[in-house]
Amino acid sequence: MVHGWTNLSSSVDSVFLFIMGISLVLLVGVTGAMVYFAVRYRRSRHPRAENIEGNLPLEIVWTVVPTLLVLAIFWVGWKSFVYMRTVPQDAMLVKVTARMWSWHFTYENGATSEVLKIPVNRPVKLAITSADVLHSLSIPAFRVKEDAVPGRENYLWFQPEVTGSYDLFCTEYCGMGHSAMITKVEVMAEKDFNAWYLEATGKSAPGKAGPDGAKLFAEKGCSACHSIDGSPKVGPTLKGVFGHRMTVLTNGKEREITADEAYLRRSLLDPAADVVKGFPPIMPSQKGVLTDAEIDALVEYLKTLREHEHEREH
């Protein structure tokens, strides 16, 4: 049987091969008959056509047989799907939050990660939601996919069977950074996973320390559009942004401002209010996405990027 990375792979691939088998027979049959007739009954060889208006038994056969075939395909597809939707009781729960344009995995003990780390040979249930627009979580090697929808929790499950690193894609278009919304699934040996899991818990246990601005900057997807080394990306660089004088568009009118703390805060919560000249007004608002503490931490972090201000061109 087909080699699989999860318990679902072989079942899905069997359905695929079943459909492909039927399809190939039909395709070869239809194309073969068509080409054969076109050659056999070409006008030079067969100058007088026979007018055959139809044949009821034949019509019945090629109505009933395909109907049975597609019902069979429906059945195997559905059976396999029911298995995909029936989560075992002992599945490990990981909560997934998708946002533009990053993935966040939260474990039952409070551990968080930007990479989906899971133990091998244990069923895993992903409870998926979105903080902003539609996304879709896809792990091709595992044959699983489910949309991340704001205001709704969708789920999928699987049991990885081979340790290793696998691609995890966003497959529902979500804007500028859609094709960069990629992370990895690390399927780890039980022992390695447990070691990471316990340690990760300690680090990010709530209340121990405030949020880390630098970490948030990487994790919340800021770095997808903003560099900290002076190079412009989709959005302006944030190198030396604090205290910098810049031209922004406010309601379509240009004005000069100084990027003070209030401005940085406004840029996070209401990015469309003042848009840096020369850049598209596409930044998503972080209102309700980041906590107040996280916004404070980010603003503090942005201030620290200030030292190198003299290197800027303007």
Partner: protein, 528 residues
């Protein structure tokens, strides 16, 4: 010189003789020329996308440009080209001729439909250069992204709304025409199968398009007033938009393919010199597709979070709608049996159609089955699938019909040698471009990706090379037709030996189509 609708003076002169004409033939050609321009635009956007994808990372353009490109490619190809498509262009020209009428039932409404279409198209195109710039949502306009994005979605959506009015009115016009204006003696089962397909399509246009109109108005209300139909924070639900969108857009798939199937049913008997096999089966399967086509929209949403019961029911209905399409294919092939077949260009395109449409349809089974759908959903597999159905299917049939009816519309014959070379280039280019996408999709390559992981590159390169071959074929095909308008040999009234009524009048036809309305005494494909 024989009088025809080109050289008969009307009320207006010059360009006004076209854009103010209520003659269905002139309106059909108006649509055809606009659509050709839009098709070439969409094709250019597609070529640019393929060029960008020849290597991972940035090749030509920024991500935002690429996202706008695939949105425009989709919007142009779907709303400006393939939905009006065969019915508005060839249907307008041929439908009254095929049923022995002087025009459609409502000639002024017909002209107004064209104006809605062209104004809608102009509004949609204006949206590219104004406001926040070209929309970047994909042609599906999914919320919440389409509400948040700063690009000019509202104007583009309004353009699509106007084109929807055009489509609805065209459907209404054609349905009425077929009911009321058939020549004496033309009973329902003596109608050409192209007319049957336009009839089924007309009902879908008439009944499904208002749903997209409502949906797009709701989207605009969301953008301007933030009402919250689709916002969970206000008690709405983004999935509602998906439902509303596909309640129209799935039947729209049949608006696109049914007339193509009609053209195929028209061309096969003429080039096989015999009657069609299973006339009633083909006619009723068109109605069956139109009817069942309403009930399967949920198969676009198998991973959306819709309930598992709904997924099961939509999957079952989806498989049932596959059957009438299969019946058509079997009857077409059986129509070749003991025929006397001429392999002219229209027929070559029909053979390509049957092969490519079969691949498109059969790969649809992979997507209809729930377990496999999950894996290929939102990947290149679906991109390949719908290009096989829409391009390999509808557009190949469109091109076949264009060659088939070219002598009737222009009075001249195209150059056969060039046409065959173009057909070969189209066939090879098409498969080189789109077949690798099935493999990429099965390997997990997501659609609408500006950038991709390096291991997907080899097949992307093959696909991009295919796009060059395909474009060469298309340009040669169009060049051949345009050149033949002037230099082609005089075709005569009935160069193919067709038996339907459009071949019983002169080429090009006179203003009122027939010297005398013909009396119909037999079925449409009556060969002795």
């Amino acid at each position: 010189m024989e009088t025809n609708f080109y050289n008969t003076p009307g009320k207006h002169k010059g360009i006004l003789a076209w854009v103010l004409s209520t003659d269905h033939k002139r309106i059909g050609l108006l649509y055809l020329s606009c659509m050709t321009a839009f098709f070439l635009t969409g094709m250019t956007l597609g070529l640019l996308m393929r060029l960008e994808l020849i290597a991972p990372g940035r090749t030509l353009m920024a991500a935002s440009t690429y996202n706008a490109l695939f949105t425009l490619h989709g919007v142009i190809m779907i709303f400006l080209f393939i939905i009006p498509g065969i019915p508005a262009a060839l249907g307008n020209f041929m439908l009254p001729l095929q049923i022995g009428a002087q025009d459609v039932s409502f000639p002024r409404l017909n002209l107004m439909s064209w104006w809605f279409y062209i104004i809608g198209a102009a509004v949609a195109i204006t949206s590219l250069f104004t406001g926040g710039g070209a929309p970047d949502t994909g042609w599906t306009f999914y919320v919440p992204y389409s509400i948040r994005t700063g690009t000019n979605v509202s104007l583009a959506v309004f353009g699509v709304f106007l084109m929807g009015i055009s489509s609805t009115l065209t459907g209404l016009n054609f349905v009425t025409t077929i009911h009321r204006l058939r020549a004496p003696g033309m009973s329902w089962f003596r109608m050409p199968l192209f007319v049957w397909s336009i009839y089924a399509t007309g009902w879908v246009q008439l009944l499904a398009t208002p749903v997209i109109a409502i949906t797009l108005l709701m989207l605009m209300a969301e953008r301007f007033f933030g009402i919250g139909f689709f916002d969970p924070a206000k008690g709405g639900d983004p999935i509602l938009f998906e439902h509303l969108f596909w309640i129209y857009s799935h039947p729209a798939v049949y608006i696109m393919i049914l007339p193509a199937m009609g053209a195929v049913s028209e061309i096969i008997p003429v080039f096989a010199r015999r009657t069609i096999f299973g006339y009633k089966a083909i006619a009723f399967s068109s109605l069956g597709i139109a009817l069942f086509g309403y009930l399967v929209w949920g198969h676009h949403m198998f991973t959306s979070g819709m309930s598992d019961e709904a997924r099961m029911i939509f999957s079952l209905l989806t498989f049932l709608v596959a059957v009438p399409s299969g019946i058509k294919v079997f009857n077409w092939v059986a129509s070749l049996y003991k025929g006397s077949i001429r392999l002219d260009t229209p027929f070559l395109y029909i053979m390509a159609f049957i092969f490519l449409f079969s691949i498109g349809g059969l790969t649809g089974l992979v997507q209809g089955a729930l377990a496999t759908n999950v894996h290929v959903h939102g990947t290149y597999f679906i991109v390949a699938h719908f290009h096989y159905v829409m391009f390999g299917g509808t557009v190949f049939a469109f091109i076949a019909a264009l060659h088939y009816w070219f002598p009737k519309m222009s009075g001249r014959m195209y150059h056969e040698g060039r046409a065959r070379i173009a057909a070969l280039a189209l066939f090879i280019g098409f498969n080189t471009l789109y077949f690798p996408m099935f493999v990429l999709g099965w390997q997990g390559m997501p659609r609408r990706y500006y950038d991709y992981l390096p291991h997907y590159q080899p097949l992307h390169v093959v696909s991009t090379v295919g796009s060059w071959i395909l474009a060469t074929g298309i340009l040669l095909m169009l060049y051949n037709l345009f050149r033949s308008l002037r230099t082609g040999e005089k075709a005569g009234d009935n160069p193919w030996g067709g038996t339907t009524l459009e071949w019983k009048t002169s080429s090009p036809p006179p203003v009122e189509n027939f010297e005398k309305i013909p009396e119909v005494t037999t079925g449409p494909y009556h060969y002795q």
